[in-house]
Symmetry: C2
Subunit: 207 residues, 2 copies
């Protein structure tokens, strides 16, 4: 049994969907970001980075979305959530996930998490003004080549799909013009049609 520590509207949704996709027994533990619960002693004992997601497993605790996604795919090979016997294809998927984690998510985070990297209000405002440009540049790269279609890696659905879907939840708020990225938007719609995705969203936003 796994326990996924998540918060609403965060990248933890990707791991949540992947757990359902894998058929992995799991329960959810909601961390209340409005109450700053991620910085509580109880949660910091789980994840000293004070972030979500954290996946509590019988072996220990895992963090970082790309690592958790690969772990789920490798732990449930029958679910076929990654190319597990082709190290090049696996690496291409991991490269996509790493780009989402270290570039797209980071560009997005400058809209609301500026205190990680600066101290002045004027800097935060400058960062916020830049987010539409920096995130649009990311989505254009995804649109023009990284998203192979119909799924991220091509014909086969992988854990990269819930990750792109999750990050793409934020693009309108980030100021990205969705009309310029039709393939990304089609992917998002295709994901939203999946029962597992509907289930994950319903669970996260249940009372």
């Amino acid at each position: 049994m796994f326990t996924l520590c998540y918060a609403q509207h965060t990248c933890a949704l990707a791991s949540h969907i992947a757990l359902i996709d894998a058929g992995a027994p799991h329960e959810l533990k909601r961390i209340n970001f409005r109450a700053m619960e991620q910085q509580s002693p109880g949660y910091v004992a789980i994840n000293p980075k004070a972030r979500v997601p954290s996946l509590i497993t019988p072996r220990g605790i895992l963090t970082e979305t790309p690592a958790i996604l690969a772990f789920i795919a490798q732990s449930y090979p029958e679910a076929r959530l990654a190319s597990l016997h082709d190290s090049f294809a696996f690496a291409e998927m991991q490269a996509f996930n790493s780009y989402l984690c270290a570039t797209v998510h980071v560009a997005h985070a400058h809209r609301m998490r500026g205190t990680r990297w600066a101290d002045e209000e004027a800097s935060f405002a400058d960062m916020r003004r830049k987010v539409p440009q920096s995130t649009t540049a990311c989505y254009e790269l995804i649109e023009q080549g990284m998203l192979k279609g119909p799924w991220v890696m091509g014909e086969a659905y992988t854990v990269a799909d819930p990750y792109l879907f999750t990050i793409a939840q934020w693009l309108e708020d980030d100021g990205v013009d969705s009309s310029g990225i039709p393939r990304v938007m089609e992917h998002r719609s295709r994901m939203l049609d999946l029962p597992n995705v509907k289930q994950a969203l319903a669970e996260e936003f249940a009372a």
Copy 2:
């Protein structure tokens, strides 16, 4: 045969060391950052993100250090550069690498790459002032728990070791007080004693 596109003083060093560790046949292609070669049409055709590293393989081009490192480890299992038959241990290593990529490297990058996330000189100055604090917080987490010792993952050397070594090249310039992180500094010294690390550095800084 692989070709690693790298630049001096960048995170590409981690993949370079790992290629030597794996005994993987490879050649180096230096990208001249001073001449902005990473934004040249020739290089953008290799890597549309205009970053290093890029690993040119017979199957195609890989980017993103965590993905390249896992690929090298999986492609050369006899080199024992990762726990390939233990998905939890593999995930722990990947979580460490993801943290370096998406948090430590990103904190560092605000010292010199502020134009990615803002436009005003005052913001860049604010970001630069914050780097010692943000990077020190990262290294304290590594010091206090993530670095198991003697190697990152404990008794076994993995591709996480050249990655930490590489990122840790920058810590003094980032304003981190090295006296507060003795275990990280010991790890860096231990790495610098390895012939493969000496070789990689010599190759990157040869005329």
